[in-house]
């Protein structure tokens, strides 16, 4: 099964380095079933000496390898998780550009358990191939809640994507890139769920679109109720069919007994033999260095002066749109006219430095309707009390460094 038919196929996944052990486990399990298909791991992070890429058993790609426009701007605008998922269509395009006829994206928190040849054939035969979260209506008391949850997060799971190199798939990829460059958000009430909700358009935008209907593919907490896992000696079945791969979405190895952070109530004791898969997975992760790599820091989380980048600063940057170009590299703080300085500039003209509301703190205020109600006039009578709040609560609640507190008499700059 690994002969002619698999030629010209590549697989890819994306991690930040704190998830490196997951990528190692995925790569090893994939290689076991498909040794001839190269698996590329895109590091959406900096190596920073934490590991030795040349010693890994997969091909490592870094962000500069991809055609991401204004890369520093891209990585600045997003959190770690957003950067990891936002890079997905760029990785897929890159692999197609390298000449592969078809590419599979696999989330790093997957374990390949069986031969994927049928799936790969399907991917080769269609412009775009996706896996629905659910293949038939769920039954039981929670059926509506489960469906509504899927409607809010997206019909198709972004953990898998298959693209053949056709004009249609390329067109869809460039559209997906464009959307994720600015809108890789988690704001379900407004129609976004990172990269995933955008995929709901795939059947509309891509005529040669295929759905993976094998219930053995992408078994995960959201479909476990319909796909009972059975382990019969060496064979793992899901819903009576060979389990192709299990997706440990939201699983945190350090939280014993919990299946996924997305369903806090779901216990290992409630998922039958699937719990055994989780046990095996933890063992594999530990052997792959989970304990060591889990705390490795994200390379894009600080300005170049060491100040952590608050999420609100990322959002303010993104809201500026093309205007943000004038800052150049937004991580750089030393040069005049930096984004860091811009954040620390006063919004209005006050002489008294203890009364300065900076752009950053205005940004925080704009995101907090509760704070707005308590301090309705921050440029009037509420100014002093709001500034007190920023020091007392705002810093902690928004994970903001004290370097952004100008009104303490200190300056934004060291």
């Amino acid at each position: 099964m690994t002969g002619q038919g698999m030629a010209g196929v590549a697989a890819g996944t994306i991690v930040a380095k704190n998830f490196l052990s997951f990528a190692r486990v995925l790569a090893a399990s994939f290689r076991r079933h498909h040794p001839d298909i190269p698996l590329f791991v895109l590091l959406a992070d900096e190596v920073d000496g934490y590991f030795e890429p040349g010693q890994e058993e997969f091909r490592l790609l870094t962000l500069p390898d991809l055609a991401i426009p204004k890369l520093s701007s891209f990585v600045f605008r997003y959190s770690r998780q957003q950067t990891v998922v936002g890079a997905k269509p760029y990785l897929l395009s890159h692999l197609l550009d390298r000449g592969f006829a078809a590419v599979l994206f696999l989330d790093a928190d997957m374990l390949i358990l069986n031969d994927l040849s049928d799936l790969i054939e399907q991917v080769r035969g269609h412009a775009v191939t996706l896996v629905p979260h659910l293949l038939r209506p769920p039954v039981g008391e929670k059926r509506l809640a489960r469906e509504l949850n899927i409607l809010l997060s997206g019909t198709y799971n972004g953990g898998f994507a298959g693209f053949a190199n056709t004009p249609e798939s390329r067109r869809f990829l460039s559209w997906w890139q464009e959307r994720l460059y600015n809108h890789c958000d988690h704001d379900v009430a407004h129609g976004t769920h990172y990269d995933q909700r955008w995929l709901d358009f795939a059947p509309s935008f891509v005529e040669d679109f295929a759905v993976v209907r094998d219930p053995g593919c992408n078994v995960a907490y959201w479909n476990l109720a319909e796909r009972t896992v059975e382990i019969v000696s060496d064979t793992i079945l899901a819903g009576g069919r060979p389990c192709r791969w299990f997706h440990f979405s939201g699983f945190e190895p350090d939280r014993e007994g919990a299946v996924t952070r997305y369903v806090p109530g779901l216990k290992m004791s409630e998922i039958g033999q699937a719990a055994e898969l989780f046990r095996r997975y933890v063992a594999l992760l530990n052997r792959a260095g989970y304990q060591e790599s889990k705390a490795w820091p994200f390379g894009y989380s600080h300005f170049d002066n060491g100040t952590p980048i608050p999420d609100v600063a990322r959002r303010l940057y993104r809201a500026l749109g093309p205007e943000s170009d004038r800052f150049g590299d937004p991580f750089q703080t030393a040069k005049p006219g930096s984004f860091f300085d811009w954040l620390n500039e006063p919004v209005d003209e006050v002489r008294d430095s203890s009364r300065i509301v900076t752009r950053l703190w205005q940004g925080v205020y704009d995101e907090r309707p509760d704070v707005q109600r308590v301090f309705p006039h921050i440029f009037g009578s509420g100014r002093r009390r709001y500034l007190k709040w920023t020091v007392r609560y705002g810093l902690k609640e928004h994970g903001i460094s004290e370097r952004f507190v100008r009104h303490l008499g200190g300056q934004g700059r060291p």
Binding site: E147, F201, S204
Partner: protein, 410 residues
């Protein structure tokens, strides 16, 4: 056509939009004289018109055999009810023995032959039309796409099924979901009947997406579709326009294309404006001005008092528990739904301080009111009751019957 077997089509209206159904039915018949067109009235005739004189096959709600019909009728507004009935109408037509059934939403004009699309049902079970066929570009692109993600990728204005088991499963599932969740709550994943359709290609086999740009031309895709009018014929991107949809068009605001997109006006709609003009004339000829004010029979309790929306919502939230009230529109019995709405939530019997279930439900819907009266069953009680009489009744359209426990007299 023979291989397709027998086909029926239909739409659903309350009687205030009967003129829309007439236009849709007439235009459908013009292109398909041999296919029967049914109009399901999600309302009562009440002597306002004579069904036998209409040029379509008339269906009363009672003919569909909907279980717990009074529940469905009471828990939804006029608009919600007509949408929630879509899968019931399609099932009914298949049950009558038609091999294929097509639903066309009321505000439509059939401008061409739909049978090429319906012919897909020889092989497929379910036909849907995507709102968009290609990614949008330009300045409003992201906003328009997000809007579609919130309202549903597929448009509920045209849905067709064949009598396969996959289609039957689809209809049974859609009915089950719409039995209680045909509401507009986009932040919770619902947009009436439509958003549920996003799940259909994953759930059921034999789903075909119609990619003919002449199907379901409407405000959401007009900027991308090149509409030309040539006499009676409407062309879209050089192809025949088969189904034009007037979603959100208000004949009394004829300069606006749709209430959903203020950016589109008849002056910037290009030749499509002519199609709207034509539709407007047809509506007027079909009695628009006469029918528009016809009352909704299920808008009131049996004694003529209007049903407030919050009462429908409360009733819906009770689920099957609400069966104990019997027909919720009936009044005058001690165990009727109105009495339940008017009963106090606790033991307080002082009329100036009594919070009834109805007002508690309104309180729960209003974070602003909660902030103003944080201790509803304690210190804020009296002031909330005052608010309910002074402002709440007006803001929520609450009839006097529900105003304050003490003054409510029988």
């Amino acid at each position: 056509m023979d291989q397709m077997g027998s086909v029926a089509a239909g739409t659903i209206v309350a009687k205030n939009t009967l003129s829309c159904a007439r236009v849709t039915a007439d235009s459908f018949r013009c292109h398909h004289p041999d296919i029967p067109f049914f109009v399901l009235l999600a309302d009562e005739v009440d002597g306002y018109f004579t069904p036998e004189r209409e040029r379509f096959q008339f269906l009363r709600l009672g003919e569909l055999g909907i279980p717990n019909l009074h529940r469905l009728v009471f828990q939804y507004s006029r608009q919600e009810l007509s949408y929630a009935l879509t899968p019931y109408l399609l099932s009914y037509l298949l049950d009558r023995g038609f091999d294929c059934a097509a639903f066309v939403k009321q505000e439509s004009l059939v401008t061409g032959d739909l049978t090429p699309a319906l012919a897909r049902l020889r092989h497929d079970s379910i036909l849907l039309t995507p709102h968009l066929l290609a990614p949008l570009s330009g300045s409003g692109a992201v906003g328009r796409e997000l809007n579609i993600l919130l309202s549903g990728v597929y448009n509920g204005g045209f849905v067709a099924v064949s009598s396969t088991s996959a289609a039957r499963q689809f209809l049974a599932w859609w009915q089950d979901r719409l039995a209680s969740h045909c509401v507009h709550a986009v932040a919770d994943g619902m947009h009436f009947e439509q958003r549920w359709l996003d799940l259909v290609p994953g759930f059921f086999e034999g789903v075909h997406l119609l990619r003919d740009p002449g199907m379901n031309v409407a405000h959401w895709n007009l900027p991308e579709r090149d509409v030309r009018v040539d006499g009676e014929t409407v062309l879209v991107d050089g192809c025949l326009c088969r189904l034009f949809r007037f979603s959100g068009f208000d004949p009394e605001q004829p300069d606006a294309v749709t209430r959903y997109s203020p950016r589109l006006t008849m002056t910037n709609a290009g030749p499509a404006a002519e199609v709207y003009q034509r539709y407007l004339r047809l509506l007027e000829q079909a009695g628009f001005h006469e029918t528009k004010a016809w009352p909704y029979a299920y808008g009131c309790f049996e004694d003529g008092v209007p049903v407030p929306d919050v009462a429908r919502r409360l009733y819906r939230s009770l689920g099957s528990e609400a069966d104990c009230f019997g027909d919720p529109r009936q009044t005058g019995r001690p165990d009727c739904f109105v009495e339940w709405l008017n009963s106090p939530v606790d033991n307080c019997r002082d009329p100036a301080k009594t919070v009834t279930r109805l007002w508690k439900a309104i309180y729960d819907l209003r974070p602003d009111v909660q902030r103003a009266y944080p201790d509803l069953l304690g210190r804020s009680r009296k002031r909330f009751v005052k608010w309910s009489i002074r402002w709440g009744a007006r803001e929520h359209g609450i009839p006097g019957r529900f105003l304050s426990y003490g003054s409510r007299s029988r």
